[in-house]
């Protein structure tokens, strides 16, 4: 179409503005992803089918042993299960904490909203590593939390090195992401809708469940997906707050790659982990899709 217009403009002797196809806008991203993501990933895929020699990274010979080891070792499944469980719990808790926050944010008048937004995003100015350390201090044996618990309950609470500490840290890191995603969706809901529901006999609570909640599902979907993906692949927080006691998949893969120097097995574990994550997400989207049919009609 653009080409045709240019020709006509050229014939008429008029210089028309050159119209470039809009897909060019995503070209830089595509190139970047191709070079630094797809190609390396294909390499990982290739490595996962190669033989691990006693010395050196791999031999260019095809084998399925790595997958056999990755899939048949019950230890791997325990780590996998723990990883998904922690990520799922993190996502759920983040949702519960972030939703009221987002609701408040979306109701606030513009000036106030800007301030609240800055407050909400301010933790992102501090690196995750630093925040992880802060939680180590807070949750440590003589940390603030433990001192309070000792005062009140009279015994020490072991937090560092437990899944609890990891979930606390992860929730803290991801709440802003979830809140932003949900607030976006909530702001798109016209206030008249709630009032219409009220006038039709719905109490405030029913109006929320029948109107606001379903209409915020696109935001909830975006937020939960984002947080789940980030949580399932998180590395720093589990290392710091799990104190290497609680093993999750990213840690296991790094250990296999670097400590055990077994690239093929590490690659196979990566692929299995990737496949399972994708499957879990697909299942989740399927379940949500039923509740969001209206968005595609």
């Amino acid at each position: 179409m653009g080409g045709l217009q240019e020709t006509w403009a050229g014939r008429a002797g008029v210089s028309a503005p050159v119209r470039l196809p809009t897909w060019l806008l995503i070209a830089p991203t595509l190139v970047l992803l191709a070079v630094f993501f797809f190609v390396p990933y294909l390499n990982v895929l290739r490595m996962s089918f190669l033989v691990k020699p006693p010395v050196g990274p791999y031999l260019p010979e095809f084998t399925l042993t790595n997958y056999a080891r990755a899939l048949l070792d019950p230890f791997h499944w325990r780590v996998m299960y723990r990883t998904f469980w922690l990520a799922g719990l993190t996502t759920a808790l983040t949702l519960v904490i972030a939703y009221p926050l987002a609701y408040h944010l979306s109701c606030a008048p513009p000036r106030r909203r800007r301030w609240l937004l800055m407050l909400l995003l301010s933790p992102l100015l501090v690196s995750v590593v630093v925040r992880g350390f802060a939680w180590m201090i807070l949750l440590g044996r003589v940390g603030l939390v433990n001192l309070a618990v000792q005062r009140l309950a009279g015994h020490e609470l072991v937090l560092i090195g437990t899944p609890t500490a990891i979930v606390i840290g992860l929730v803290h890191v991801y709440v802003p992401f979830m809140a932003l995603a949900i607030a976006g969706a909530l702001q798109n809901i016209h206030p008249d809708l709630v009032q219409a529901a009220r006038s039709l006999g719905a109490t405030p609570w029913v109006a929320f469940w029948r109107v606001v909640w379903p209409l915020s599902l696109p935001g909830v979907q975006a937020g939960t997906l984002l947080v789940f993906v980030l949580a399932v692949s998180s590395y720093v927080i589990p290392i710091l707050l799990g104190a290497s006691n609680v093993l999750v998949m990213p840690m296991l893969i790094v250990q296999t790659l670097l400590d055990a120097f077994n690239w093929p097995l590490g690659s196979a574990l990566s692929m299995v982990f990737f496949g399972l994550t994708a499957a879990v997400i697909a299942l989740y989207l399927r379940l949500l899709a039923r509740a969001m049919r209206w968005t595609r009609a």
Partner: protein, 351 residues
Amino acid sequence: MSSITLRGLTKRFGSVAAVSSLDLEIREGELVTLLGPSGCGKTTTLRLIAGLELPDAGEVLFGDRPVTRLPPERRNVGIVFQSYALFPHMTVWQNVAFGLEMRRESPRVIRERVGAILERVQLRGLEQRYPHQLSGGQQQRVALARALVMNPAVLLLDEPLANLDAKLREDMRFYIRQLQRDVGITAVYVTHDQAEAMVLADRIALMRDGCLQQIGSPEEIYRQPRNVWVAEFIGLSNFIPGTVAGSRDGQLVVRTAAGTFTCTGRVEVGREVLICVRPEALHFGESHPNRLRGTVRERVFLGNLFDYRVEGPGGLHLRVQADPSQALPPGGNVTVSFDPSAAWAVDAGEV
């Protein structure tokens, strides 16, 4: 269906009184439009009736039932919003059935009533569509159906036609009017469009700065405005300033710089007044008793009429709208006359 009574209704937002001590009586089965410029408090009044806002003072009654402190879900009002406020995640059917579900009606009753009302607003066959798959006019009718299916005590409409294009708006005016008559429901209709108010209303309640300026039939408001503001707000009007010199046979004799005229009005002798004469009530020639001489300054063709600016004695500027069959040239001297019954005097001090 019930009448609506507002007594001393007041609502402040911060230091601004959006509605101040408003008294209004709306009869059973009547359609009253709240008309006024933006910010006059008409929408706030509607929201107070609906229970979407609570008043700072005053009372709202439906029939004999005081509802002032009731939340909207317990007032049994049907509201049609300017934005339609259709639930985007529900189909047409689900939208209309929502209220009945809230009332826990049986599935059979819901099926019957929703079906009947959709039939009535001619939306049969579109039950499974989502709101965004409908045209503006169809969405409007879903909103009406959703409100009416509840058999509400009163129907409240907040500029329901503002988002439609001009042609459809015209049709929908008559449609809503007919529907309201057929159902026989008491209705309050907020609008800033005076033509819409004229077409729809049994009575127009004209509001300004949170106060009621005048309430009456469209004809009353047009022919006998209570003050200058009302006369200016509704339609076009010429104002001839003068003093009431006396009254004769129920008519007023007003002395002005352009001569002495007889007119109608409810003003005492001796008061400063403005005589309101609508442009279409002024005629060229000496056919009517009140006469004045002037010069045509400008002439504009409006299709169905000529719009003249005429300069009269004492710097008086008049607009005259006349039949296009007689075209008077600009610059010519003319006599303009009008009938006493078409001239209405309002107190100049009452603004």
